[in-house]
Symmetry: C2
Subunit: 564 residues, 2 copies
Amino acid sequence: MWTASCVRLCSVLTALGTSTRVHWLPSVRGISAAQIDEEVAKLLELKARLGGDDGKHQFGTRDYNPKQMAIREKVFNTIVSCFKRHGAETIDTPVFELKVGLPSFSSGTEAVASRPSNTEETLTGKYGEDSKLIYDLKDQGGELLSLRYDLTVPFARYLAMNKITNIKRYHIAKVYRRDNPAMTRGRYREFYQCDFDIAGQYDAMIPDAECLKIVYEILSELELGDFCIKVNDRRILDGMFAVCGVPDDKFRTICSTVDKLDKMPWEEVKREMVNEKGLSEEAADQIGEYVSMKGETSTPDAGGSSQRGETEASDAHTAQNPVGGMDLAEKLLQDPKMCQSKQACAGLSDIKLLFSYLQLFQVTDKVVFDLSLARGLDYYTGVIYEAVLSQAGVAPAANEAPNGTSAEESVSVGSVAGGGRYDGLVGMFDPKGRKVPCVGVSIGIERIFSIMEQKAAASAERVRTTEVQVMVASAQKNLLEEKLRLISELWNAGIKAEVMYKKNPKLLSQLQHCEESGIPLVAILGEQELKDGVVKLRVVATREEVDISRADLISEIKKRTSEA
Amino acid sequence: MWTASCVRLCSVLTALGTSTRVHWLPSVRGISAAQIDEEVAKLLELKARLGGDDGKHQFGTRDYNPKQMAIREKVFNTIVSCFKRHGAETIDTPVFELKVGLPSFSSGTEAVASRPSNTEETLTGKYGEDSKLIYDLKDQGGELLSLRYDLTVPFARYLAMNKITNIKRYHIAKVYRRDNPAMTRGRYREFYQCDFDIAGQYDAMIPDAECLKIVYEILSELELGDFCIKVNDRRILDGMFAVCGVPDDKFRTICSTVDKLDKMPWEEVKREMVNEKGLSEEAADQIGEYVSMKGETSTPDAGGSSQRGETEASDAHTAQNPVGGMDLAEKLLQDPKMCQSKQACAGLSDIKLLFSYLQLFQVTDKVVFDLSLARGLDYYTGVIYEAVLSQAGVAPAANEAPNGTSAEESVSVGSVAGGGRYDGLVGMFDPKGRKVPCVGVSIGIERIFSIMEQKAAASAERVRTTEVQVMVASAQKNLLEEKLRLISELWNAGIKAEVMYKKNPKLLSQLQHCEESGIPLVAILGEQELKDGVVKLRVVATREEVDISRADLISEIKKRTSEA
C-alpha cells in the first residue's frame, strides 16, 4: 500500500520533474494541485513510516545529504590519492551490461548446487536467493540488460574486449544487488565498490606486496583504529587438505567450513566437518592443528584453537612480531607432513618471499599469516588476504563486505578490505587462452563510510558541507552593488566566497550564516571602509577584526585560509 | 544475431566475472574452455563490426578508457571547483527511482497532445516515441523502478521529502534515455548531467546573475573558444505574444515555432505560424519585429530578421556592447505596444536589473538579450538563458544538450549550457503549497567532453593517464630490495612513484616506460650510488642526471615536480 501511493506520487514527481528541463509545461498543468496535495500527503505519511529525514528509501536505496557527501568525498580523496600514488589509472564502464543469459551463473551457486555433493541442499537453498540479486532491466524491445552486480565483470570484459595484458587500474562505482536491504545495518541495494587491480605477467609477489602496502596505507590514513591484515595462500590450503587426507572432492566444502572459524569455535567447525561433511575424526583434528596456526604462534594446540572464538579480537595484537609470518612459513616448510605437498611448498615459499617484501615496506606489524583464512578460495589461485578492524562497534554492512559477498557469506564482521591473486580468470576470455595474471584488492568503502559518519556524529567538530573561505558582508544598507563588485574580484582570484542574496541583509544574520556553515572569514564593507579603500576582515572564530587594503585583501585571505 | 551471440557471451562473462569476488569457482568450472573460446570469438567479431577499440557498445553505452577518464577528471575538476568557489554543496540520489506510473508524463508530450489544438497530430507523433525513453527495471517482485531520466526529478523529490527551502547544490551524475544512440554524434543512452541550482526566496536577479557568472567562468576556464550567452524572460515572451494579438491558447505553440528561429530563417518560421498554426499575417509580422531584436540591435527590421539564419554565427560578436541588453530592455519599456503588458514590463525591468548585476560581474561582453530565445518556456517562470559556442566543428550531442532534451527538441547545435528560473515547481510538491523559488543551470558536460577529446586528439602533447612523479629504477641487477626500500620511503612521503614488477628489468625498458607514460623523473640506484648514499636523479625530458643525497631526495623530487 505504501508502494502504491508512492508509485503514484513518483509518477507525478517524474511528470513534473522530468518536464523541468524539457519543453512542456502542459505535463505539469495536466495535474491538479489537489492531486498533488493528495499524493504529497501520501509521500509524507510514507516518509514518516520510513523513519524521517535520513534519506533512506523503503526500496533499499538512499539519498546522500550534503553532510554525508562531504564525508564520502574525504574518504574517496584519501583512497584515490593512495591509488594514484601507486601509479594507477582508472576506467569506467556502463551501469548496465548485457543481461545474464543464464541467471544460474549470476552467483555461481547453481553450478555448485549441480555438483553431486552432500552440501547440495544448503547451496540450492542459497541459489534461489542469489539469482534474485541481479537487477534486470525490463525488456522494452532491444537488448536484455542488467545492472552491474560488481566491478569485476566489467573489468574482465574490458580486458578481454581490448586485449589488454598490462594495467594497474582502480574503479570506484556503484553496484546493485536485489538483496534484502537492512538499512539499519548499513546494507543497501545500491552501494559503492572500490577496486584496485594489477593485471600482468610479473615476478612473484611484487604486485601482491604492493596491494597489501596499499591496504595498510589506506587503513592507516583513514584512522579507523587498529587493524590486522590476515594473509594465506590457496595453494597452502589445498596442500594442507591433501596431506590431512581430505578427499579431493571435499576440498571445497571443507574449506567453506574452515571459513567459518572466525564466526564459531573450533568444536562446532569440527562437528560440521565430521558430522555434516563426513570427514574422518583424524583428518579434522589434523586440520584443526594447522588452522590454529597464525602469526608467530609457535605450537599448534587444540585447546588454543578451541578458544579461537574468544581470542579473535586480539589478532591484531598477536601479530606484533615482524617476522612471525616468515617464521611460521619456514616452520611449515620443515613440517614433515606439509612438505609432502608440492603445492603447499610453493605457497609457503611465496609467503616467505611476500613477507620479505612486506618487511621492506615496513607493514609487517599489521600482517598475520593465518592458515584459517579461506576467503575467496574457490576463485583465487594464490595469495589471499583480508583486513579486519580490531575494534568492533560498527554494525556490519554485510553486502558491502570487501568482496561484495552477501550477508550469508560475509567472511568477517569487521572486514574492511580483501582480495587476492586470480591468475586464471582473464585467460578464460582470451580466444587463444593467453593468461593475464591478476592480483587485486577491494576496499569495503560503505563500511568505512558508516564508520566515518559515526565518528563525525560522535565528534564535536562540525562537518563542513561547503569550502567557502570568506563571506562578503555589509554593515549598512544599499551596499549590494559594492558587495557584488568585491565578490566578483574574489571569485576571479579563485577565492571561495559567498554573499547573501538579499539587498540589505542584517549584519547579524550574515555573521550567523558564517557560524552555521563554518565560514572562517567575513569581508565587511561599510561606507567608511569604502572611503578608506579598505575591507574589514573579521575572523569568525575570534571575532577579531582588522582593516585590510583592497589591494592586499586577496593575498591576506589566501594566507589566512591556506591549509599549509 | 550480434545481440544473440553477445548476450550469450556476456552471460558467460557475467557468470565468471560475478563469481570472481564471490565464493564459488564451480560457476567458472561449469563452462568449458571450448564454450568460452567460441563465445569470445563471437565477441571479437562483434567488436570488429562495432568498430574496434573505441569502447562503444552496440547498445548505446560505452567504456571510458584511462585517457578518456583523465580528460573527464580534468573537466570535472574545473566545473566542480567553480561550483565550490560559489559555495555549493552536493547531494546524491539513487540511480533508480520508483517507476513512473504514468509514462504519459515521462516527457510531458502526451499532455501536450491531449490539448485540443491543431498541433495535436505532430505532438502525438512525438509522444509514442518519447515515452519509450525511460528505462524501466524488470518487475522482479517488489517495487516498480526506473532509471533516472534527469537529475531534476530527484532534486525536486529530495527538496519535497526533506522540506528544504534553501539550498545551493550541484549534482553531477549519469542519467539514462532509451534514445536512438547515435554514437558517432556523441549521443549515448547513458550520459552525464551536471546541474547547479539555487533554491530559496531571495531578492530579484541576484542568484540568477550568479548562475550566468558561473556559466561564464566555466566556459572561459575550459577554453572552448568564443561563446555567447543568450538571455530572455518568459514573461517578456508571453507579454509580447499578448500585445501582438496571439490568442492565449496559441502562446505555447507559437512559442515552439519561435524556438526554431536558430534553425530556420524567418520566412519559414512565419510560414509555420501563419499556415500551420493559423496565426494572422499581422500578428506574425509584429512578432517578427520583436524576435529579431537582440543585443544592441537598434531597429527591428524584417529584412534583417530574414537573414537571421545567416547572421546567427556572428551572434557572439554582435554582443560586444556591454550595455546592449540594458539598452534594448529600456527601449522596449518605452515601446508603446510592449509597455501595455504588465508581464512584459516586469520581465524587462528584471532584465535591466540582471544586466546591472552582470556588469558588476564583468560578464556582459558575452551576454546577449535575445527575444528569440524561447527554450524551456513551457516550464520556466522567469529568466531563461542558453550558452552557445561561436565556433562549430563539434558534432551535436543532441540528447546531451544542457537541458537534456532529446534530439528532436535540441535547441541549438552549439549549445553547451542552459537553464533558467522555475519558481513554481517545488511548491507543487509541498502539502501546504509553500513555494521554493529555484533558478538553475545545466552544463552540457558530454558535449564538452567530446570537444576536449577532439582537442586532445588534435594537440601534440600526450594525455597522461597517471600522475606518477618518479620511477624508481636500477642500473645493475639484484637491486630489487633496495628499490622497494626506496619506493616505500617515497610513498610514505606522499610521492607518486612506480617501480617495475621485475627482479632485474633492463634500464632501457625502465626509461622507455617513463617516456611512454610521461613520468618526468627517474631515481636510479646502482652499487656506486648505494655506496655513496646518493640516488642518481634523471630528468627524462633532458636526460640530465644529477646525484642527490638520500636525505635530500624527497624534497628535490617535490621541488622539481611541484606545479607551482
